[in-house]
C-alpha cells in the first residue's frame, strides 16, 4: 500500500509503524557551485516535505531571483537569511529536516566557501554520515580534498560521494569511473574505507529517489535508498560505560541522584562505577526516570542514577564503568581547529569545556599545523582562523578523558576566550603526554608559610601595569625602597633584568608578549613561594595574561597596581624616545600606537599620575598594603 493510502485508510497503523522510525544525521559538503543547495532542495521536494504554499512562494521566487531561467530553483528553498539571498551564497550552517517511511533525516547544510572550515566542522560534528558533492565536469578539486580531510578529522566513518551534474557530462560512465578512481587514491591517505559513489543530478533528479534511466550502467542504490538503509553502527553503544555528571538532583535529604546523558555503553543496576577524577567507587542502586525506574540504560539516554555509597560527585565529574576506565591527565596532545578571527596565543589561558567540565587550559606547544589542501605538516607559531594544528595542552588540574577516536563525548572539547566569551576552537584529544602521569608534586615540609615566617613577612606580588612611560618602574622602585627600609625581603622584576636574560629569545609580537608575561608570572610565583614580596613592572597590556598571573597566586597575595596615564601624557614624557620611533614606524607592535592596551577594570590599586607624584604614589601603595594586612608580621 502506498504511504498516503496508509495514512488515509489506517492512520493508527501508520503511527505504529512510524513510532520506531530511526534518525540519521548527515552533513553535505561541496564547493560553491557543486549544487549543494539544489540537492537538498531536491531531497525535501522528493520526500514531499514542501507544502503547496511553500511551492507557490518557491515558484514566484524562482521567477524573481532564480538562476534556472524560470524553472523551479530548488536552491531557494534552503538559502535562508535575507542577506545571503541577495548575495546568493550560504553563509552559515543550517539544519534541514525531512523524513521518509523508514527514517527521519537531519541535514547539516554547510557552505563550501574557502574560509568556512569552521562551519563545516561544526555541521559535521553531529553527523553520522557525510555526502561529499562533486561537479562531474570538474572532478576531484582542492576543495574536495579539504572537505574529505575535515570529514575524516571529525571522525565520520560513512561517506557518500555524490557525483553531481551527470546530465552535463552526458551521463558518461567513463567520466564517473575516472573521478571515482581519482578519489579512491586520495581517500586511502586519510583512511576512508566505506565510500559509496553515486552518479546524480540534483537538478533533474537522477538517482536521487528513483534509479535514473539515463545511467543504466549504474547498478547501486539511489541516494535516498542508501540514506534510508545504511547501517551506521554506533561505536557508542558497544563502548565502555561513560556518563558526565550534568546536574546533581537533590529534591530532599533522602534523594541524591546524578543526572546525565550516557555517552557510551550500558549501565545496569548493581554495576560498579568509578567517579573521576576523585577515583571513588560505588554501585548503581537505581536508574531513575519519570516513566519509572529502569533496570538498564544505554548510550544516548538521559537518565538520573543513584549510588549505594555517599561519595562526593559534582557537575563535571565523569562516571565510568570500573571494567574499562578512562585516562586521567593534565597534559594532552590534541588536534585543534581554530575558529576565531583572533589567532591562538600559546601560553594564554582559555576555558576548556569537555563534557560538563569547564577548566582553564593553555596551549604549551604547537607541534605543527596541517595544510588542509595538501595534508602537509608545517611549522607554526600560532593558528589563525580556519587553521588546523597538532598542539600540546596544559590544564590546571587532572581530568578524565578518552581519545576522541574512542569517544567523541569524552575526547572532544571546545576552547572559549576568557574575555570575549566566544568559542575559539574545537579540539580532539589524541593522547595524554606521558610526563603528566609521571610528575607528582613533592610534598615538602618547608613550605611557603614556613619560609615567609622565617623572614617575618607575608609574601605578595605587586603587579604594576600601565603604558610605556607611565612611571611604573619609577614608582615600583620607590615602593621597593620603602619596603626595604621597613626590613622586608623583596625582589623586583622588570624589562631590564628579564628581557636580557630569561626572555632574551622573545620579541614583541602578541604571541611573544603573552609568553613573556607567562614566564614572569611563573618566576614571580616561585619567588612568592620562597616568601618574598615581589614587584613586577611590565606594560602587560592584555587582561587575559594579568588574569593568568592572578590565578597563580593564593587569595589576597596578588595586588594589581594600575599606573594610569593618558596616552597623550605618556607620549609627551617619552623618556626613552620610544613613542617617537613608534610614530615613525621604526618600532612595530608598540603598545598604545600599533598594539592594544587593555585597561584593568578590577585593579586593587589605581594610581592616577595626573593627581599624584611618584613619591605620593609609593606612599599610597604602602598604605594600601598595610590596610590589607600585608605588612603586619
Amino acid at each position: 500500500m502506498d504511504v498516503s493510502d496508509l495514512i488515509e485508510k489506517d492512520i493508527l497503523g501508520y503511527l505504529k509503524a512510524h513510532q520506531n522510525k530511526g534518525l540519521l544525521r548527515f552533513v553535505t559538503c561541496g564547493s560553491v557551485d557543486d549544487g549543494k543547495s539544489t540537492l537538498i532542495g531536491r531531497l525535501l521536494y522528493d520526500s514531499k516535505m514542501i507544502f503547496e504554499d511553500q511551492l507557490a512562494a518557491l515558484e514566484s521566487d524562482s521567477k524573481k531571483v532564480g538562476t534556472q531561467g524560470g524553472d523551479i530553483d530548488f536552491a531557494l528553498l534552503v538559502d535562508g537569511l535575507a542577506a545571503e539571498r541577495e548575495q546568493g551564497i550560504t553563509i552559515d550552517v543550517a539544519y534541514r529536516f525531512f523524513s521518509t517511511d523508514k527514517r527521519k533525516f537531519i541535514v547539516a547544510d554547510t557552505p563550501g566557501h574557502e574560509q568556512y572550515t569552521r562551519n563545516m566542522i561544526t555541521g559535521a560534528s553531529t553527523a553520522d554520515l557525510a555526502v561529499i558533492l562533486m561537479d562531474a565536469r570538474k572532478g576531484v578539486l582542492v576543495q574536495t580534498r579539504r572537505h574529505s580531510f575535515l570529514v575524516s578529522l571529525i571522525g565520520i566513518k560513512h561517506v557518500v560521494l555524490a557525483i553531481n551534474k551527470m546530465d552535463l557530462v552526458g551521463h558518461s560512465e567513463e567520466t564517473f569511473n575516472k573521478i571515482v578512481a581519482d578519489y579512491r587514491t586520495f581517500a586511502k591517505q586519510i583512511g576512508f574505507e566505506n565510500i559509496l559513489a553515486i552518479p546524480i543530478s540534483g537538478l533533474k533528479g537522477d538517482n536521487i529517489k528513483d534509479p535514473s534511466t539515463s545511467t543504466p550502467w549504474y547498478k547501486g542504490p539511489t541516494l535516498m535508498n542508501h540514506l534510508e538503509t545504511v547501517q551506521v553502527e554506533d561505536n557508542a553503544q558497544s563502548g565502555p560505560f561513560r556518563m558526565w555528571t550534568q546536574w546533581v538532583n537533590r529534591p530532599d535529604l533522602d534523594f541524591r541522584g546524578f543526572a546525565g546523558q550516557i555517552s557510551s555503553g550500558i549501565i545496569r543496576t548493581g554495576d560498579r562505577i568509578r567517579a573521576l577524577p576523585s577515583g571513588k567507587d560505588s554501585k548503581v542502586t537505581r536508574i531513575v526516570t519519570k516513566d519509572g525506574d529502569l533496570s538498564e540504560a544505554v548510550a544516548g539516554q538521559s537518565v538520573t542514577i543513584t549510588l549505594k555509597d555517599e561519595i562526593d560527585i559534582s557537575r563535571g565529574d565523569l562516571i565510568a564503568g570500573v571494567d574499562s576506565l578512562p585516562g586521567v591527565a593534565d597534559q594532552f596532545n590534541a588536534t585543534l581547529v581554530w575558529m576565531s578571527e583572533t589567532p591562538l596565543l600559546p601560553g594564554r589561558p582559555y576555558w576548556l569545556k569537555l563534557g560538563s567540565r569547564v577548566i582553564s587550559a593553555s596551549v604549551t606547544d604547537i607541534k605543527h599545523k596541517i595544510h588542509v589542501n595538501t595534508l602537509e605538516q608545517l611549522a607554526a607559531k600560532t593558528l589563525e582562523l580556519n587553521e588546523i594544528g597538532s598542539v600540546n595542552l596544559g590544564i590546571d588540574q587532572a581530568i578524565p578523558f578518552d581519545a576522541y577516536t574512542e569517544n567523541k563525548d569524552t575526547g572532544g572539547f571546545i576552547l572559549i576566550d576568557r574575555m570575549t566569551n566566544t568559542t575559539v576552537a574545537a579540539g580532539m584529544i589524541n593522547f595524554a603526554l606521558r610526563r603528566s602521569q609521571n610528575i607528582h608534586w613533592q610534598a615538602v615540609d618547608v613550605d611557603k608559610t614556613a619560609r615567609a615566617s622565617a623572614k617575618r613577612q607575608k609574601p605578595a606580588l605587586l603587579w604594576f601595569t600601565g603604558l610605556s612611560g607611565s612611571g611604573k618602574s619609577t614608582i615600583a622602585n620607590l615602593v621597593e625602597k620603602q619596603l626595604f627600609a621597613l626590613g622586608r625581603h623583596t625582589y623586583m622584576l622588570d624589562g631590564d633584568n628579564v628581557r636580557h636574560g630569561l626572555n632574551r629569545d622573545l620579541g614583541f609580537t602578541d604571541t611573544d608578549r603573552v609568553e613573556n608575561i607567562r614566564r614572569v608570572a611563573e618566576v614571580s610565583k616561585l619567588m612568592v613561594d620562597a616568601g618574598l614580596i615581589v614587584l613586577t613592572s611590565f606594560i602587560s597590556p592584555f587582561k587575559a595574561e594579568r588574569q593568568m598571573a592572578r590565578g597563580l597566586m593564593a587569595e589576597g597575595e596578588f595586588l594589581e597596581v594600575f599606573i594610569k596615564t593618558s596616552l597623550a601624557e605618556a607620549e609627551r614624557r617619552d623618556p626613552k624616545g620610544l613613542y617617537k620611533r613608534a610614530r615613525a614606524s621604526q618600532i612595530q607592535n608598540f603598545t598604545g600606537i600599533t598594539s592594544a592596551y587593555e585597561e584593568p577594570e578590577t585593579a586593587e590599586i589605581v594610581i592616577d599620575t595626573s593627581k599624584l607624584s611618584a613619591e605620593e604614589a609609593a606612599t599610597h601603595i604602602i598604605k594600601q598594603m598595610q590596610d590589607r594586612g600585608l605588612l603586619t608580621p
Binding site: S4, I7, E8, I11, Y14, L15, H18, Q19, N20, K21, G22, F51, E52, D53, Q54, G80, L81, A83, D92, V93, Y95, R96, F97, S99, R103, K104, I106, I121, T122, S125, T126, D234, Q237, Q246, W247, N249, P251, A259, Q261, V288, T289, K290, V298, G300, Q301, S302, R315, M339, W351, K353, L354, K408, D409, G412, F413, I416, N421, T422, T423, A426
Partner: protein, 300 residues
C-alpha cells in the same frame, strides 16, 4: 545492541539541553506560550529534573488577546503540576489601548509580545529563557543555534552566533547578555504530534475540531472569542467545525475547517494537508524575511 529511535533521541537531547541551562545559568525561565510546542517542552522539563520539580518558573507574556481557552488551560496546567507561573502584561500597551483591530497585527505584536517579553525578562533579571521554537518552522530558524545569544538590548545578530559543536554548549556570557535556549530545535511538527500522541500530553482543546463561531477576514477564518471582535453591519458569526494548527492572539490566528477531533485524526490531516503550519499566522505574511527581522528586533 539496542539503539534509540527518533523520538527517544530527540527526548534525550532536549533533556540534556535543559539540564545544561539549569546547571550553567543563574536565573532561567521557561517561556510558556500554552501552545503544543510549549506543552511538549513542559512535559520534557518534568522528565528532565524528576524527582525534583523543574527548578525555574514559567513565564507567560499575555497580550490580553489570547484565546480564553488558552488562559484557562494555562492556569489548570500550572495548578495540576504544582509549578510557579509569572504572567506579564505590557501595561503601557494596555494604557494606550493597543490591540490588533485598532493598531494592526505588526504593531500589536511588537508592543504586546516583543516589548512585553523584553520588559518581563528585564523585570525579573532572567539570564536564560527556554523557548519552544523549532528549526523546521521557518527558513531563518534553520540557522539558529540551540543556545542563541541576545545583547543587553535583546537583539539577535545572525552573524555573531557561536559555533555549536557536538553537544558542547558555550554558555559564557557578559553581564546583561541573555540566552534563548531552544530544546526543541531538532523536532519537526510531525515529531511533536507523534510525541503528544504517544506520551498522552494534554493540549489546549482548540487544537481539536469543534463547532465554533467564526467570521471570514481576507480569506482567513477568525474565531469570535469575545465581544471585542468588530462585526460588519448585519454580519453574524457562522458556526463551523474548525480547529487551529497554531495558537496565538485570536484575531491573528486563522482557523481551518476540519472534522479532526482526535490526535490520530489531526496527524492524519496534517500529513495529507497541502499547506505549511505557519500559514495560519497572520504576522508571518507582513513582508519577506519578516521573521528574521522580528528576531533581530527581539521577537522570540
Amino acid at each position: 545492541m539496542p539503539t534509540l529511535n527518533n523520538l527517544q533521541r530527540l527526548e534525550a537531547e532536549s533533556i540534556h539541553i535543559m539540564r545544561e541551562v539549569v546547571a550553567e545559568c543563574e536565573n532561567p525561565v521557561f517561556l510558556y506560550s500554552v501552545g503544543k510546542d510549549s506543552a511538549v517542552m513542559l512535559h520534557l522539563a518534568m522528565k528532565a529534573f524528576y524527582p525534583s520539580k523543574p527548578p525555574f518558573p514559567l513565564l507567560h507574556v499575555d497580550t490580553t488577546w489570547k484565546f480564553k481557552e488558552m488562559i484557562s488551560f494555562r492556569d489548570k496546567m500550572v495548578k495540576d503540576l504544582g509549578l510557579e507561573l509569572r504572567v506579564h502584561i505590557n501595561q503601557d500597551g494596555v494604557a494606550q489601548g493597543v490591540g490588533p483591530f485598532t493598531h494592526g497585527s505588526a504593531l500589536h505584536t511588537d508592543i504586546m509580545k516583543t516589548q512585553g517579553l523584553k520588559q518581563a525578562l528585564d523585570k525579573w533579571n532572567f539570564d536564560a529563557a527556554f523557548g519552544g521554537a523549532r528549526r523546521d518552522e521557518e527558513k531563518s530558524r534553520a540557522k539558529e543555534r540551540i543556545f542563541s545569544f541576545r545583547s543587553a538590548q535583546h537583539r539577535w545578530d545572525p552573524k555573531q552566533q557561536r559555533p555549536e559543536l557536538w553537544q558542547l554548549y558555550n554558555t559564557k556570557k557578559h553581564k546583561g547578555e541573555s540566552i534563548r535556549a531552544f530544546p526543541l530545535s531538532n523536532w519537526t511538527e510531525l515529531d511533536i504530534w507523534q510525541y503528544i500522541y504517544l506520551e498522552n500530553i494534554p493540549i489546549v482543546p482548540l487544537y481539536f475540531a469543534a463547532k465554533r463561531p467564526v467570521v471570514e477576514r481576507d480569506g482567513t477564518l477568525i474565531m469570535v472569542d469575545d465581544d471585542r471582535m468588530p462585526l460588519k453591519p448585519g454580519e453574524k458569526p457562522m458556526m463551523k467545525s474548525v480547529r487551529f494548527r497554531t495558537l496565538g492572539c485570536y484575531p491573528l490566528t486563522g482557523a481551518i475547517e476540519s472534522e479532526a477531533a482526535t490526535l490520530p485524526d489531526i496527524i492524519q490531516e496534517m500529513l495529507l494537508t497541502k499547506s505549511s503550519e505557519r500559514q495560519g499566522r497572520v504576522i508571518d505574511h507582513d513582508s519577506t524575511a519578516s521573521m528574521e527581522k522580528k528576531k533581530q528586533e527581539g521577537y522570540f
